[in-house]
C-alpha cells in the first residue's frame, strides 16, 4: 500500500462491549487499561510533587494527559514487539512494564523501579544512571529513550530491520513528538525505513507543541509555528507510506488503530505512520509557565481526559459500577504511593561503581596475546621478505613478478600477501561466514563495493539482505546499526569518510557509546563503525580529516586504527567479535599497501600496542599510516647512529600506555606522530597518560623522561587541497627524523 491518510477521528469507535463480544478483549483488559492510565497519571502527579520537594532532581517531562496513547499502543502490541521511547517516556515505560508484569507483585516492583530511577536510586531500572529522560527496561524489548529530540528514530529502523532479518514476525513501535518530526533524523529514518521495507509503526504523539512552539500555530501573540502543516500525517507522502490520524485521548481508538497498524507493518514488512492527537496537562517541564497556550484550549482538552473518556464508556456500557472504578483508582493510587515509599527507602548507587558498565568487560587469553606477538613479528619479516623477493623476482610483467614473489612468501612463511583493502574485505568475509548476525550497512557498499573498495565482492558473496546499500543518511546509517545491534545483530556500518561523522555523532555517542551505561548495564551495542580518514588524495578539508581525538573523548567507545594489512585484518575481526561499539578507521592512502597476512584464523587483541621496531634512544609513538613514516624515519636515523623504537598503538581507546611507558623507561625520549590536529590531540593524550603512568617501583613515566616529549601532528588548519600544502599540513618522514635528532642530541 502506498501513501494515503486514514483520518479516524470522528469515525465511530466500536463499543467496548462489542470488542468483548467478538472475543478481541476481555472486560478485565478494559479495566486494566483504566488502571494503567491511572497509574501513569498518579506517577506523574507524584513526580511533580517530589520535584517541588527536591526529592526528585533533574529533568521531568510529564506524560499526564497523553496516557491513552501508550496504554492503547502497548495493549495492541504483542509480547516481543519492540518499543522506542522519548524524553517524555514515563508512559511508555509504565504501560510496557504493566504488560510484562505477570503478577501484582511484579507490577508493583515495576513501578517501584520506575520511581527509584527517577530518584536516582540503585534499584531503578537503570541504576540511577539515566533518570526521567532515559527511563526504560531495555531487557523487555525497549530500545531505550533518548534526551535528544529525534534521536531515537534511527535506532528503531535498525531494530525493525533486525526483526525482519531474523524473521521474528515482530514489529517495532517508535514513539516521538510532533517537534521531533522537524529533525533531520526524522526524514532520514522514515525514508530509510520505507526503502528498506521494515516492520515499523512510527507513532507521532502530536501534543500540538514542541516545548513552547506550536506545531501549527496558536492564537497567542508572540508565538510562531514549527511547521506549515496541520497534520504531521501528510509527511507520509514524502515516503509513500500510509498514515492514520487518531484521537489520542480515547484508549479504545488507539488500541484498535494500533492493532491495524501493527498487523499492516508485520504482514507487509512496511512502515506506517500513526499520528495521535493529544495534549499534555502540565507544561513542557516543571518550570514551564505555559504562556503559549490559552486557558480555554487547556479546558477543552481537559474535558477529554483519557480517564474521563474511558470511565464514561465503562459506566455507560454498564461494564463497571462507579464503586469498581473508584476501586481501580484507589489501587492505582496505592501502587504509586508504595512505589514512592520503595524508592525513598532504596539505597543510592555507590560512587565506587561510578565507572561500572561503561563497557562490556572483555579480555583476551594469554594464547591470543602470544599468537599476535608471534604473528605480528613474522608478518613484518614476511613483508620485508616480499619486498626483497619482488626486486629479484622473475617474470615478464609486473603482475607475474608479483605473483612469483607472493608464491615465495606463501611457501616460506605460510602467509598471503594482501593489500590493506583486501585484508579488510577478508576480515569481514570471514566473520560474516562465521556469524550470520554480521551485516554491513552503508552508502555504496553493495554493487559498488565501497568507495574505497573495502566491501568489494561481499554483495555477491552474502546477498542484499546482509550487504545493504543505504540512502545517503549518515545519522540513520549509524543509528540503524545501533538499533540492530541492540536487537542482537553485529552490524558493520560504513561511513564513507570519517568527516561525515559530524552528521552521525549523536547516534554514535548518545546511542552507541552511552547506551549500555545509561540503561544500567542491561544493554549492549556490538557494532562496528568502519570508515577511513586522513590526507593523501588532495580532496580538501571535508574529506581528509583525522578525527580520532574526538572519538577518544567518548566514554563507551573503542577506537582502532590499523597500519598494516596484518593489523587491519586481525583488528577488524576482533572489532566485529567485540561486544562493545568499535570505531575502526582505515587510512585512505593505504588501501593499496601490501603486507603479509597469515593464512590461519587469528585476531589481534583490542587495546594492545605493537612494537613495530625496537630501539634504545628514542620512542616514536604513532598509529595508522604514520607508522610507515616512522619506520622509514627510523631507518634513516639508524644511518645517523640513532636507534629509534617505533610503537604502533593500533588501538587508541583503550590505549596501551604500558607498552609506551616501558619503552620510554628505556629511552627517556618520546615523540608522538599522528595526522590528527595538534591541539587537544591524541599525542597530547599519550603524553598525559605517560606522565601519570606508575611503575611497580612507584616511579612514574615523568621520572624517566630525559627531555620534553614532542608531539608531531597535523597543523591546526583545515587540511588544504593543494598538494604541497596538504603535505605540509602533516608530519613527514623528514620532520620525524629532525625531531628525533633534536630530542636525542
Amino acid at each position: 500500500m502506498s501513501y494515503k491518510i486514514d483520518d479516524k477521528r470522528g469515525k465511530k469507535v466500536p463499543k467496548i462491549s462489542e470488542l468483548i463480544k467478538k472475543g478481541q478483549i476481555t472486560i478485565d483488559d478494559a479495566k486494566d487499561w483504566l488502571r494503567t492510565i491511572y497509574e501513569i497519571r498518579f506517577f506523574e502527579e507524584k513526580v511533580f510533587e517530589l520535584l517541588g520537594k527536591n526529592i526528585i532532581k533533574g529533568a521531568s517531562h510529564l506524560y499526564a494527559g497523553e496516557e491513552a496513547i501508550a496504554t492503547g499502543a502497548l495493549a495492541a502490541m504483542e509480547i516481543g514487539d519492540v518499543l522506542g521511547s522519548t524524553h517524555r517516556g514515563h508512559g511508555h515505560c509504565g504501560a510496557s512494564g504493566n504488560k510484562y508484569a505477570e503478577s501484582e507483585g511484579e507490577r508493583q516492583m515495576h513501578w517501584n523501579r520506575m520511581m527509584a530511577e527517577l530518584m536516582g536510586k540503585e534499584t531503578g531500572y537503570c541504576g540511577g544512571r539515566g533518570g526521567s529522560m532515559h527511563i526504560a527496561d531495555v531487557q523487555k524489548g525497549n530500545l531505550g529513550s533518548t534526551g535528544i529530540v529525534g534521536g531515537n528514530q534511527p535506532t528503531a529502523v535498525g531494530a525493525a530491520y533486525a526483526e525482519k532479518y531474523k524473521g521474528t514476525g515482530k514489529a517495532v513501535v517508535s514513539f516521538f513528538g510532533d517537534g521531533a518530526t522537524n529533525t533531520g533524523t526524522f526524514h532520514e529514518s522514515m525514508n530509510m525505513a520505507s526503502v528498506l521495507d521494515v516492520p515499523l509503526v512510527a507513532v507521532v504523539e502530536n501534543n500540538l507543541y514542541g516545548m513552547s512552539v506550536p506545531f501549527s500555530g496558536s492564537p497567542i501573540e508572540g508565538t510562531v509555528r514549527a511547521s506549515n502543516i496541520e497534520d504531521v500525517a501528510v509527511r507520509a507522502a514524502a515516503y509513500n507510506v500510509p498514515a492514520m490520524i487518531i484521537d489520542g485521548q480515547d484508549v479504545v481508538a488507539v488500541y484498535l488503530a494500533m492493532l491495524e497498524a501493527l498487523s499492516y507493518a508485520k504482514e507487509n514488512n512496511k512502515l506506517i505512520l500513526v499520528e495521535a492527537k493529544t495534549y499534555r496537562w502540565y507544561g513542557h517541564s516543571r518550570s514551564d509557565p505555559r504562556a503559549y497556550r490559552t486557558k480555554e484550549e487547556e479546558k477543552i482538552w481537559r474535558e477529554r481526559d483519557p480517564i474521563i473518556v474511558l470511565s464514561e464508556k465503562l459506566l455507560s456500557e454498564k461494564l463497571a459500577t462507579q464503586e469498581e472504578l473508584d476501586e481501580i483508582k484507589a489501587d492505582a493510587d496505592k501502587t504509586i504511593n508504595d512505589a514512592t515509599e520503595f524508592a525513598l527507602n532504596s539505597p543510592w548507587p555507590d560512587p565506587k561503581d561510578l565507572a561500572k558498565d561503561v563497557y562490556v568487560e572483555e579480555s583476551y587469553s594469554q594464547a591470543q596475546h602470544s599468537l599476535d606477538e608471534d604473528l605480528s613479528k613474522k608478518s613484518l619479516e614476511a613483508t620485508d621478505a616480499f619486498t626483497k623477493a619482488l626486486e629479484s623476482a622473475e617474470g615478464k610483467t609486473k603482475k607475474e613478478k608479483s605473483e612469483n614473489a607472493k608464491a615465495k612468501i606463501k611457501a616460506d612463511y605460510k602467509m598471503d600477501v594482501l593489500t590493506m583493502g583486501e585484508a579488510v574485505v577478508a576480515a569481514q568475509s570471514e566473520e560474516m561466514a562465521k556469524d550470520k548476525d554480521v551485516i554491513i550497512m552503508g552508502e555504496d557498499v553493495g554493487l559498488y563495493g565501497g568507495a574505497y573498495g573495502a566491501t568489494k565482492g561481499l554483495l555477491a558473496e552474502f546477498g542484499p539482505e546482509r550487504v545493504i546499500d543505504t540512502p545517503i543518511s549518515e545519522a540513520a546509517i549509524v543509528g540503524s546499526g545501533v538499533g540492530a545491534a541492540i536487537r542482537g545483530m553485529r552490524p558493520i556500518t560504513e561511513l564513507m569518510y570519517i568527516d561525515f561523522l559530524t552528521i552521525a555523532l549523536d547516534q554514535l555517542m548518545h546511542n552507541a557509546a552511552f547506551n549500555r551505561y545509561m540503561f544500567g548495564g542491561h544493554a549492549k551495542v556490538p557494532m562496528v563503525l568502519r570508515s577511513e580518514g586522513g590526507v593523501g588524495r588532495c580532496i580538501a578539508a571535508h574529506h581528509s580529516k583525522s578525527l580520532e581525538a574526538w572519538l577518544m573523548h567518548i566514554p563507551g567507545l573503542y577506537v582502532v586504527m590499523p597500519s598494516t594489512p596484518y593489523d587491519a585484518k586481525g583488528l577488524l575481526k576482533a572489532a566485529i567479535q567485540s561486544d562493545n561499539p568499535v570505531v575502526f578507521i582505515e587510512h585512505k592512502a593505504t588501501y593499496g599497501q601490501l603486507g603479509a597476512v597469515p593464512t590461519q584464523d587469528y585476531i589481534i587483541p583490542l587495546g594492545k600496542a605493537d612494537i613495530k621496531r625496537e630501539g634504545s634512544d628514542v620512542t616514536i609513538v604513532t598509529y595508522s599510516r604514520m607508522v610507515m613514516f616512522a619506520l622509514e624515519a627510523a631507518k634513516e636515523l639508524e644511518k645517523q647512529g640513532i636507534s629509534a623504537e617505533v610503537i604502533d598503538l593500533r588501538s587508541l581507546k583503550p590505549l596501551d600506555i604500558e607498552t609506551v611507558a616501558n619503552s620510554v623507561r628505556k629511552t627517556g625520549k618520546m615523540i608522538t606522530a599522528c595526522e590528527g590536529f595538534r591541539m587537544a590531540g591524541s599525542g597530547a593524550e599519550v603524553v598525559r597518560q605517560l606522565m601519570e603512568y606508575t611503575f611497580d617501583d612507584g616511579r612514574t613515566g615523568f621520572d624517566y623522561l630525559d627531555a620534553a616529549p614532542v608531539n608531531l601532528a597535523a597543523e591546526d588548519v583545515p587540511p588544504p587541497m593543494s598538494e604541497p600544502l596538504e603535505l605540509a599540513s602533516i608530519p613527514s618522514i623528514d620532520s620525524i627524523v629532525a625531531a628525533a635528532k633534536n630530542i636525542v642530541a
Binding site: 516543571r286 509557565p289 616511579r699 621520572d703
Partner: protein, 644 residues
Amino acid sequence: MAKEVRLPQLGQTMEEGTFVSILVEEGSQVSKGDVLFEVETDKATLEMESPEDGFIKKILVKPGETLEVGAIVAIIGEENEDVEDMIQTSSDSNGADDSSSAQAKTAESETLKVITLPQLGQTMEEGTIVNILVKEGDNIAKGDVILEVETDKATLEMESTQEGVLKKLLVKSGDTIPVDAPVAIIGKEDDVVSQDYIDSLLSGKADANSGESTTASEVQSEQAPEGVKVLELPQLGQTMEEGTIVSIIAEVGKTIAKGDVVLEVETDKATLEMESTADGVVKAILVEAGETIPVDTPVAIVAPVDVEISQAYIDSIKNSASSDTTEAKPAPVAPAKPAPVAKPAPVAAAPKATAASGNKIFASPRAKTVAKELGVNIADIKATKDPLRIKEVDVRNYASTIASPAKDESAVIEMPQPEHQLGERVALTRMQKVVAQRMVESKQNIPCFYLNSVVDMTELVAFRAKLNKTAPVKVSFNDFIIRALGIAVKQFPIMAGQIVGDDIKIADSISVGLAIAVEDGLIAPMSKDVDKKSLIEVAQYNQDLIARAKSGQISPDDLSGGCITLSNLGAFGIESFIPIVVPGQCSILGTGWIKDELVPQNGNILIRKLMKMTLSVDHKIANGAYAAQFLDYVRKLLENPASL
C-alpha cells in the same frame, strides 16, 4: 481533612516568590489544578495551582508579600470544616506539622532570627551581661549595639547581626552565658513568637548551662570542642565483621597514647589487640567484656584531659551505635566548666628546612632518577650536552668519573650514617615485642635438629631469566622455593603437622610463611595453597602479599594457618644460617645466597650456581630421616625448575 497549601518550587532555581495577585477568595471552591495565585520569581511570573480539591478556608498571604518556597500560603478544606486551630498554628509557625517542637523550631526559625552571643575576642568563652540597651518591641538595625558584655579581658559591645523587631530578650543583666548562647529573637512586626519556640531555644541554653541530659537532636546541634575522638572497633582482618570483647585494658581517667592497647578482641580467626588511634585521656568506655559488637562500633571516647564529656553525649554515641547510622556524629560536649585556659594546640612540627641548595637546579626527571640510583648528588653535576638542563648522559658521565678513581683506591666501603648511637636505648616496637616473645616460646618448646644441604641452582637461574621475559609478573627465587616447599610438604605431610594431644594433626591446606623484613621488625605472612597454584599464581600472590606487608596492610588472615616458613637472607650476602621455627609450625627453611662455585664433574671443573639450605625441624613432630628425605626432595625440585 483540611490541608495547608505551601508555596511550591516553580522553577529549578526558585527560592522565594512574591505574590502578585490572589485569584481566589476565602470560601471559594477550587479543584486541583485551578490557579490560586500569580507568583513572581527571579525568572518569571508564574501561576500557582491548587494541589487539592476543596474550599479555600484561609488565605495567609497578602499581595506584594514575598515568601520562601515551602511557606504556608493557604488552607484548603471541606466546606464546613473548622480550621481555626490550624490557622493559628500555621500563622504562628508557618510550618506547623503535628510533630515535635524540634521541628517547630526549624520551621519557625525560617522567619524568626535568633541572635546569639558572638565570640568577641580570641580567647572568649563566655560573657557576663552588664547592660541591656534595647527593649522588646524596638526596631533594630544590623549593627545596632544591643548589649554590653564583660569578658575575661574587657567590657565590649555586642551588635545586632539581624534587622527587625526585637520580639523577645532571652537574657537579663548579670547573666553569664557561654558564647553562642541565644540572646534575643528578632522578627517581623506581626510575627508571633510561640512559647514552645522560646522554650526550645532556652532548653538548649539550659542544657548548655547545666550539662543535663538533652535529646539527641539537640545535642547534635552543638559544636564539639576540639580533640574529642571516638574510638571504633576497627576491622582487624579481611573477613572480620564483628568481635567479642575479651578484656578491656584501657581505664577511664587514665592517659592513653596512640598505639596503646585499648582492648582485646576475639574474632572468628584470632584474639587480637585493638590499639588506640588517639592520644588523650580515656573519658568513657562504651562496651563491656563479653559483648560482641560489629566493626565500626564506638568503644571508647578519648579527649584532652580538660575537656568534659556529658552523659548526653556518651548516650548519643552509644545510641548511634545501636541505631544503624554510619555517619559520624559530631561530638558535642557540654561546656559546663569551661577550661580556664584552652591548651594551645600542639604546634605541628615545623617542616624541616629543605636542603639549602640556593639556586634551582634544572635537570630532567630522568637525570634526577638516575642520579638517585647511582647515588650521586645532582648539584655536583654540570650540564654539558644541553646547556639548559642536566640530562641522563651528564649524570652517567659524572658518575663514571667519580667511580673509577674510587675503584683504584683500596676498597673503601661506603656505609650510611648508623641509625642509632652508642649508649642509646631503643624502644622495642610492638612488632619486635611480639617477635621476642614468640622466639623465646619457640626456643623453649621446640626441640630442633638442623639439616644442611646444597642445591645447584644453575638451571633454575637460567629458567627464571627466560620465564621472566614473558611472565605477567616477575617471578622471584623465593617464589620458586615456596612453590617447591608446597609440593614437598604435600609429599611429606608430617612436615605440616602439629602435636594435638596424643596425635599429630596435619594441616588442612598448605601455606608457606615468607619472612619479610619490614620497617618496624619482622613479619612472616602466608603464601596460601601453594601446592594448588601454578608458579605464576604463587608469584602473583606473593607480590601482592609483600606489597601489603611493606605497607602494613597484613591482616590476621594472612598470618594464620602456616605449616612451614622460608627465610631467605641471600640478598644480604649470607651463605647459610640457622633459622628459628615459628611456633605453630613444624619447620623453617633458611636459604643463603646463590654463589658461583667451582664444581668438579666428570673430570672437568664447572662453574655452578650453588645455594645452601638449612632446615630447622621440630623433633617432636618429625624425625631426622623423614625430614632429610623432605629436604632432599626440595633440592631435587629446585634442580628441576620445569617441574615447579
